[in-house]
Each structure stands twice: as structure tokens, then as C-alpha cells.
Symmetry: C2
Subunit: 331 residues, 2 copies
Amino acid sequence: MSASRPGEFDLIARIARRVQARGDVVLGIGDDAALLEVPAGRQLVVAMDTLNAGVHFPHATAPADIGWKALAVNLSDLAAMGAEPAWCTLSLSMPTPDAAWLDGFLEGFSALASMHRVALVGGDTTRGPLSVCVTVQGLVEPGRALRRDAARPGDEVWVSGTLGDAAGALSMLGLGPLPAPAIAADAAARAALHARLDRPTPRIALGRALAPHAHAAIDVSDGLLADLAHLARASGTGIEVDVDRLPASDALCALFDADARRLLQAAGGDDYELAFTAAAASHAAVLQAAAQAGTPVTCVGRVVAGQGVSARDARGAAWLPPRRGWEHFAD
Amino acid sequence: MSASRPGEFDLIARIARRVQARGDVVLGIGDDAALLEVPAGRQLVVAMDTLNAGVHFPHATAPADIGWKALAVNLSDLAAMGAEPAWCTLSLSMPTPDAAWLDGFLEGFSALASMHRVALVGGDTTRGPLSVCVTVQGLVEPGRALRRDAARPGDEVWVSGTLGDAAGALSMLGLGPLPAPAIAADAAARAALHARLDRPTPRIALGRALAPHAHAAIDVSDGLLADLAHLARASGTGIEVDVDRLPASDALCALFDADARRLLQAAGGDDYELAFTAAAASHAAVLQAAAQAGTPVTCVGRVVAGQGVSARDARGAAWLPPRRGWEHFAD
């Protein structure tokens, strides 16, 4: 081993230096396993997601953005359960040990971990094609978790933030469902969409605030209609979506026309917003919870008896996306 | 999608059908995250390890063996903590969705999961070079975990089972530290070594039985001397090993001469046996715990004041391996 080619243990030491401290970590990085104190009266919530180079992020993505996103997509799963994040583990495969790349990666990863007080407590670094696997552990009060199977006919359907920005950024990279927009002059708008693709915001505070009020929730990763279809199937209900009520960012409006926007918002994916349902009687409570969390929410549809997801535009005409929500293995 | 090219959700359904049931799983595969009941009076123990094709297992390895090993190396970490396994998550990257490969993989994975009552509660399947990442969660009584930093001068050093078999198998494949042995006729012995490489036995029952008696423990993955060096460093002690007392299997003895055996046993790695220390006064208690667990153990050295690991042969001469224990990123 040389100084410019760090070994596994040097990489682990670099990682250990950046770890968020938590009093409930009895034993963190450096043993065969981590040892953690779970508070009484809480259920454990566990999610795991992998990002592979060239599949989940373009090869040219900055290491800091990969670090942020690898944790963000996992925290987004905790947000969708209404859970509070606590700990995580990281398995990092790299073609060659690269300390500069790792430092960049850790900059993004640690920035998000600090924001949510998530302690990295273990994992491994190993040789292989670039791949980042993260497992997160969170905590939730018993009976309070937001599950996919808890939507009820009559519920309103809501989404947080805005939709379609990440898919818009992928389109601009030539990787999305649409060709790059003809209107290409607005550099600020383009940067805004790329930031949403590279640095998604896990809606942790919103999930926590909604847990007492919402029924079912899911995070929007495959595309709103595809994710709502998962939720409807799990709940044994149907869902009607008003596509012209889907929230769009100013940046998306600046770069894509109404038809393109609708497609990006309804089917684009990679938004990591929350889609959730709540009783119509909880409408005001939902708005208040969202205000408390500092995250805007928009009512975009309703849960109905039956099955499947249908979408209508403002004129009441049925709207169908030209393609399905993205599946990692779809042909 | 076609029937012969299953999508992500078809693969997940195949996985979900093979899951071990547990009463403490409130919500398993199929939501954004799993929801688990942690019993009162237990600490949570978390380990995560990835196996990459061509790095951690030869490309030709049978899918069932990969499935077994991916879980086994993680359970081995729980064993080294004295923990009882409970749940796991699996992230599986495959170049193309392959239902037949997955069924083989699940056969090995599920066989071991059932033996230890481990419930698979989540994870993801995704496109990418073949890679298997597993996170396991276990439980341990507070204060009972076997840590690397708890060895004390005067402790005896023990190992479970036999050492060097997996490294012997790698050598026979032309992948280990030694050329394939000249004595190649003993097919049963060769099969025995390959079985130890492909299907390591996590020493869960032994770890549980030792938790009240042992001081420090580690599982032998990098090679005994390298792993004892981690343990000595964490404990601020030295360790002396009697290399001629290291336990060898009949198969290893049939295929390798004494010099080769010593190297494979002391530095070969991939054994997934436990190396642990206990007070000399606990000698009988250790033997009784091992008998209760049905796993032989051998006293192979002692913890001393100072630092580093030294090894001596039966004549008292210093013994040094010609190479260091394997590091995933070593040059």
C-alpha cells in the first residue's frame, strides 16, 4: 500500500472521522457490528436502497451529490413511514480506492446526516464497480407509522413540494422521457432542476408532522402515478388524480410546456416527495402540519372504491401517460 | 416486460414468498420500510457486508452458494458480538433480471435464514454488476456484547472449529496464497474444502454461549493473525499465538503439508470462525459453553501486555507469514 492508494482501513478511518455523534450509539464503526440503544416505546423502522453508477445516477455525477443522494433516498423512505431517522450503515464499492473521491462523497453524505442527526455506525468499503448501498434505521411511535395499505375511500390524496423537476433534469441530460426542451436559455431554471435531481430533499419533518393525521403514504420515486398505484393496490382502493392540480416549480414552468410538464410531474419519478392520503375531515390539520414542517402540500385527488389509478385533466378528460413509471428492470 | 424477463416487482414477489415468519415483524417486504418490534431490555446489533462477483466469490460460484454466503458473512458478525439474529435486508444488483438465478440464490439464502430464524424484511433489487449487500439486525443483552476492545493481559486466546479450509479451497482454484497442492487425488478432501469456502458456518450458537464468559471476540475473515491484530489494537494489548496449535481439518491435512497448512491457517482468511479471549480462570467454562453449542474450540495463545501479534511454532521459533492477511484494497 502507498499513501496515494489507501487501503480499506485507511478509508474506514476517513469515514469514521465524519460521523455524527449520538448518545444512543453504544458502539459505532470499528467492531464486527454496531451496538445501539432503542428507546422504550418505539418501533424500529428499516429501509435499504442501493445506487449504482450509470443506473441510478449519471457517471459524471459529483461525488458529493452521490453521497447526498444515497442517504436522501433512504431517508425519504423513513419520511414516508412518518419515522424519525436515527442510524445508518454504508457499503461502498469502488473500482479503486480513491481518497479524494471518498472525501467528496462524505461531504455530501455527512451534510445530510448532520441535518437529520443520523449516525453512521458501520458498513464496509470494498472493491467493485461504483455502487453505494445504505441502510437506515429510524424510530416511530407504535401505531403511528404511515403505511401504504391504510388509504380509505373518501380520503384526499396529497403531494408535497413540486413534482417533475428531477425528471426534467434527466430530460435535459438526454436521459429522461422527453427530448431536451427547445427553450434552453434559462440557466437559473436549468440549475434549479439539476439541484433537485442531484440533491433531493427527504421530507422527514413533514412525515413526522403528518404521522398523527395522515392514513397512507409513499415516497415518489418511480413516478407519481406508479407510486400511487402501489399505494392503491396495497390499500385495496382506487385513486383519482387531477393532473392539472399537480404542483410545478417555477423552473419547470420556465423550461417545459404544459403537455411536457404534465408528463414529467405525473410519471417522471425521482422526486422524493411524499404522496399521502388523509380523511377529508383532516384537511385543515394536514395544512397545519405542513405549515409546521415548512413544506407546502397540495391536494391532487381522492381515494375511491375500486382499483387502479385514473387521471383527469382540468377539462375532465382522461389523461394517460405515454409510458409507465420507471421500473429499475423494465424493458 | 415479458415472462422470461421479470420486472423488479416480480422479483420482489419471488423473494417475499421465501421469507421466514417472525411475530415481531409488524410490516415486512412491500412498504417503504419495515416495521419491527424490538423487545425491551435488549440492545440492537447491526452489521452490513457486501459480496461483489469476482472480488468476494469466483464468477462461477453457484447462485445458492452466493445466497448462503451473503447471509453467512453477516451472521458471522453477529456471532462475533454474541448476538441473536433477528431480521435482515437484502439489496441485490443483477446485470439482467434472471428468475432462475434468483431462485437458486434464494434457496441458499433462505436455508440459512430458516436455520437461524432470520426474517428478510426489505431491501431492493436493481440493475447493475452482480453484487449482494446484506444488513442484519440482532439482539443482545445490555453489557453482554463481545467487543473487540475487551481483551485483557492474561486472557487465553481461542478459536472455533478449524482454520485454513477456505483459503485451501481458494488455492486449489488458483486464487489463494499458495499454488494448488501436488497431492490432488483426494476428491472427498477437496470437496470438503470447497464446501467450507462456499458455505461458511456462522458460529451463532457459540457466540451466544460465550457471551457470559468471553471478553473480546472477532470473526476470522481477513486471516487469523490480521484479525487478532485488529482485536489487539482495539484492546491496547499484544497477543502471542502458537501456530502449531491452530486447529486443522482432516481435509486440510490430507491436501497440504505442514508448512502450507500453517500459512493457510494463520493468514488465509475467509474462515468465519470466531477468535476470542477469555480469562484463564474461565477455561473450563469456555469448554463447557463450546460443548453446549456443539462447536469445538481450541486454545491457541494468550493476551499479553504490549502491542501487536507475534506467532511461534512448537519449537519456540518466531513464525512470520510470507504475506499479510488479505485486505479488500491491499495492493
